[in-house]
């Protein structure tokens, strides 16, 4: 199907008379042995809003990094032509000079500097090195007006909310005379009002002739603003939909995104759900920064023995905050609520006590918070339970450490020379296996996984699912937080849906579907209300 659609695309553009501004053809890129992109084609017409959809890991971000020159020319195959000529971008500066601006999920603003300083960072309004502040503020005011902001240009960016910061980023792109604006998941961390404002702004920019690419999972947003949709799956363009006239066929996008049957990507398992398990009742967490704002609002959860329970939701829904507050109160203030294991209240007030009570938490930030990258596999494996490999509780037995780590490497099929190898030299999937080893070594009853397969290739994902399944099948409780809905649908026995700090839906494996979860998020009705 894909080939025929792609082949038709340029012809169609000619027919409608709109000029093609960007044409990417046959883009492929490898990271070592992992093929991130196989065959991506993307055609964007001048003045349109073009949506790029795909699951996490489909290759959208890689594609945008190639387009903006973050991955320089020469590291990939295929051609990029922009504004009618072939381009070889070697860095962000190259693509910016050509008129391409990319706005990432993580904003690139300096919080302590003013709006004006941020707008013209690297592009200062100066003559002979001396900044003309009056002119700069004046121009900033004009740019802010274009994105609908009325804040004083002297305001430090850190004082603005996340939604306004996003608009400042867009103004910053406008300051550079942008011809093609790329927005990577722009609404992921925005609330509804801010998202609405942003989408309106995109429409306004379109009327002034700015071409935009928007990367998003949210079908309702795409339906609202996009003229054309390109769907990417497993590193290749699989469908291109024109929606200039009438409704986008959502089902077609979803089936193109999800693609092949879910079942063959996830190991088969029949859950043996037992009695007892882990229960949380009435959990509340107050934001450590904004006093009085609750990031987790009255959440109750049950994970029975032998059960894998998922928590779905958008970025910023409060899932990680919930997990961290549960695991030794690592996030938030005034944590309230009860946690029980097999009906017995357990103490999780510090990390040490949480581990002692049988909890384990696999962080979403593997490199930043999961591993000591400069140390060996062996030392990382035993870090959470050093006493167990020590004599008299304080003299570490290096050989016990070695043997323990070697055992786990074999069990987890971690690919390494030996366990003295530095963890930082392993691939993402193997690193994650070391993190899992570390936690399984503490012999937990409840395993909380936060984005357990983020940034991991498909093969290693499968192995990690198997490890998780085996753990659950040994009569333990698993709670899995993930932004990849197919992953939750493929592995969980039950799925909670979280939004704005509350649970807004609960589905059994049979009843759950991407659409049902999305609908629950959109309805935003708290459970039990």
């Amino acid at each position: 199907m894909s080939q025929t659609v792609i082949a038709r695309r340029p012809a169609e553009a000619e027919r409608t008379g709109a000029e093609v501004i960007l044409q990417m053809t046959g883009i492929a890129k490898n990271f070592g042995p992992v093929q991130a992109l196989r065959q991506v084609d993307l055609t964007v017409r001048r003045g349109e809003i073009h949506a790029v959809c795909g699951e996490n890991g489909a290759g959208k971000s890689t594609l945008m990094n190639i387009l903006s020159g973050v991955y320089p020319h020469g590291g990939h195959s295929g051609t990029i032509s922009f504004g009618g000529e072939e381009r070889h971008f070697h860095g962000l500066r190259d693509s910016e000079r050509a008129g391409i601006s990319i706005i990432h999920q993580e904003l690139a603003l300096v919080p302590l500097l003013s709006i004006t300083e941020n707008l013209f960072l690297g592009n200062e309004r100066a003559s002979r090195g001396v900044i003309d502040w009056e002119a700069a503020h004046e121009e900033a005011r004009g740019l802010l007006a274009r994105v609908g902001l009325t804040d004083a240009p002297q305001t430090p960016v850190g004082d603005l909310g996340i939604g306004k910061q996003q608009l400042v980023e867009i103004a910053k792109a406008l300051a550079k005379d942008v011809r093609l604006l790329i927005l990577d998941e722009p609404t992921a961390s925005l609330n509804e009002t801010d998202s609405d404002r942003l989408l309106q702004l995109m429409g306004g920019l379109k009327e002034r002739g700015v071409t935009s690419i928007i990367i998003s999972h949210k079908l309702n947003e795409i339906r609202r603003v996009a003229d054309t949709v390109t769907v990417i799956r497993d590193g290749a363009t699989v469908d291109v939909l024109d929606c200039g006239d009438g409704e986008i066929e959502e089902d077609r996008i979803v089936s193109a995104m999800v693609g092949r049957e879910l079942s063959d990507r996830y190991p088969k398992r029949t859950a043996k759900i037992g009695r007892g398990g882990f229960e949380v009742r009435g959990w509340r967490v107050v934001d450590p920064q904004h006093h009085g704002r609750e990031v987790v609002r009255n959440v109750s959860l049950t994970a029975r023995r032998g059960e894998i329970v998922g928590i779905s939701g958008l970025m910023g829904a409060g899932r990680t905050e919930f997990a961290l507050s549960l695991f030794g109160r690592l996030h938030g203030k005034q944590v309230a609520g009860t946690a029980t294991l097999d009906g017995q209240a357990i103490d999780t007030s510090t990390v040490t006590r949480a581990i002692g009570s049988g909890l384990a938490y696999v962080t979403e930030d593997r490199k930043g918070a999961g591993l000591v990258l400069g140390e060996s596999i062996a030392r990382n494996t035993v870090l959470a339970d050093l006493e167990r490999v020590s004599r008299w509780g304080f003299v570490v037995d290096a050989y016990k450490v070695f043997d323990t780590a070697s055992d786990y490497c074999k069990k987890m099929r971690t690919r390494c020379h030996d366990v003295l190898q530095k963890v930082g030299t392993l691939s993402g999937g193997n690193q994650q296996k070391v993190v899992l080893s570390k936690w399984l070594f503490t012999d937990p009853e409840v395993l909380i996984l936060d984005e357990p397969t983020r940034g991991i290739d498909v093969g290693a994902k499968y192995e990690i699912y198997k490890i998780i399944n085996d753990f659950a099948d040994s009569g333990k409780c698993v709670i899995m937080i993930s932004s990849e809905m197919p992953e939750l649908l493929g592995t969980c026995d039950r799925i909670y849906v979280m939004n704005e700090g509350r649970f807004v839906g609960e589905f059994s494996a049979e009843a759950a579907s991407q659409e049902a979860i999305m609908r629950a998020i959109q309805k935003n009705q708290p459970l039990g209300a």
Binding site: L330, V351, G368, V372, V396, Y399, K410
Partner: protein
């Protein structure tokens, strides 16, 4: 799905090339630098450097730097810095003077009080760093001023001395010689041989146990060359000392501390946790390590070792002076970085730091004997520090 669990890599057959040989020396590269620098000054000073009297003096002059460097290594591995150690050393020296000389306390209770004072000084700074997350640079910069001020206040701006003889003997005395042979200090030789044997035993045991687990180990010739060289150096060193007046008491104290801290850093739960905290604070905290407590302990320990150094320095001068310890922190920090500790925390070895301290010591001593001006001495020391850290960073970037 085709997955392979690769078996451990066997050491490659065939003789090692020169490059591979050099690389396999790894940590011993630093020791080689020390040997080369020593050889150079031995030549340049016409043989004065390695005379028994000079070696003894060199050790005595550098003992307090080495002792403080042990604590500083822990602070730096933890990801912090301590600028106040010179002031604490001076402060404790003044306290010792006030207690022993002015108040007439006994040597033993006064020493205990001084060590406790060091612990309190370390805790007073560690508290802010560990529990309030204040930058250690600033906290200890403040401490540097405060403790220097306290030193002057205690001593009233004047030197206090002399100390009781049993106290100053710590710094100027030598281990007794029960066998009293003419011209050769037998006990020192015996200690040297025992330490060398213990070192060899530990290395050989570790090698065989690693082999039985099929972990990669150095090939036999490299292993023998490395350990043979170290053992010979150790024995030669003890022989030189024995031919003068034997092992100085301070050097014995230093040796015991080095052994204790090597054990602490390599083999204990506290040591492993310290490396983890410095390597990745978040990961350590998520793994149940009480990171604040570890940081706090590290600073208390630094305070105690600074106190030990302060006592030794005061005993050596046989008086407590208000300027004692000024600038020590720079020598100590330089020794740790020359010894290969990472400026970002998480890496560094006790042995490396000891060698780093002696590289500085030999440079100081050698340049003084040659009669090089203080101006050039400072420049050369500065460049050596820069070069040592550059080599470290260059090698890391190459990996």
């Amino acid at each position: 799905m085709a997955t392979t669990y690769s078996t451990p890599v066997e050491p490659k057959p065939g003789g090692p090339t020169l490059g591979a040989l050099w690389r396999s020396f790894g940590d011993y590269g630093l020791l080689l630098s020390l040997v080369v620098i020593t050889a150079f000054f031995q030549y340049a000073t016409g043989g004065v450097l390695l005379q028994p009297l000079n070696i003894t003096n060199l050790l005595l002059q550098n003992s307090y730097v080495v002792i403080m460097a042990l604590g500083m290594l822990m602070v730096i591995v933890c990801g912090h810095i301590d600028l106040s150690v010179g002031s604490i050393a001076g402060c404790i020296g003044a306290l010792a003077g006030a207690l022993m000389v002015s108040r007439g306390w006994g040597v033993f209770p006064a020493t205990i009080a001084c060590l406790a004072g060091g612990a309190v000084a370390g805790a007073a700074q560690g508290y802010w760093v560990a529990y309030w997350r204040m930058p250690s640079f600033i906290v200890t910069l403040a401490g540097m001023l405060v403790f220097r001020g306290i030193t002057i206040a205690i001593s009233d701006g004047a030197s206090v001395g002399p100390f009781p003889e049993s106290f100053s003997a710590v710094a100027s005395g030598f281990l007794p010689d029960p066998f009293s042979m003419d011209g050769l200090h037998l006990l020192s030789l015996i200690i040297g041989v025992l330490v060398a044997l213990a070192f060899l035993a530990i290395e050989i045991r570790s090698r065989t146990r690693s082999q039985s687990r099929q972990a990669a180990v150095a090939s036999l010739p490299v292993f023998a060359a490395k350990n043979g060289a170290v053992t010979l150096l150790l024995l030669a060193f003890c022989y030189v000392l024995a031919s003068y007046r034997g092992i100085p008491t301070v050097v014995a104290i230093m040796g015991v501390l080095i052994a204790a801290y090597t054990f602490l850093m390599n083999r204990t739960v506290l040591g492993r946790r310290l490396y983890a905290v410095g390597g990745n604070l978040k990961a350590a905290r998520l793994s149940g390590v009480n990171t604040s407590r570890i940081t706090f302990i590290t600073f208390i320990n630094m305070g105690v070792l600074a106190a030990v150094a302060g006592l030794i320095f005061a005993a050596r001068l046989n008086s407590a002076t208000p300027r004692a310890g000024t600038g020590f922190e720079l020598d100590v920090i330089a020794a740790v970085f020359i010894g290969g500790a990472s400026a970002t925390g998480g890496a560094g070895k006790v042995l490396g730091v000891v060698i780093g301290a002696f590289i500085m010591g030999v440079l100081n001593n050698g340049m003084s004997i040659i009669g090089l001006g203080v101006d050039y001495q400072q420049m050369i020391k500065g460049l050596v520090l820069l070069a040592a850290v550059f080599i470290d960073i260059y090698q890391k970037n190459k990996d």
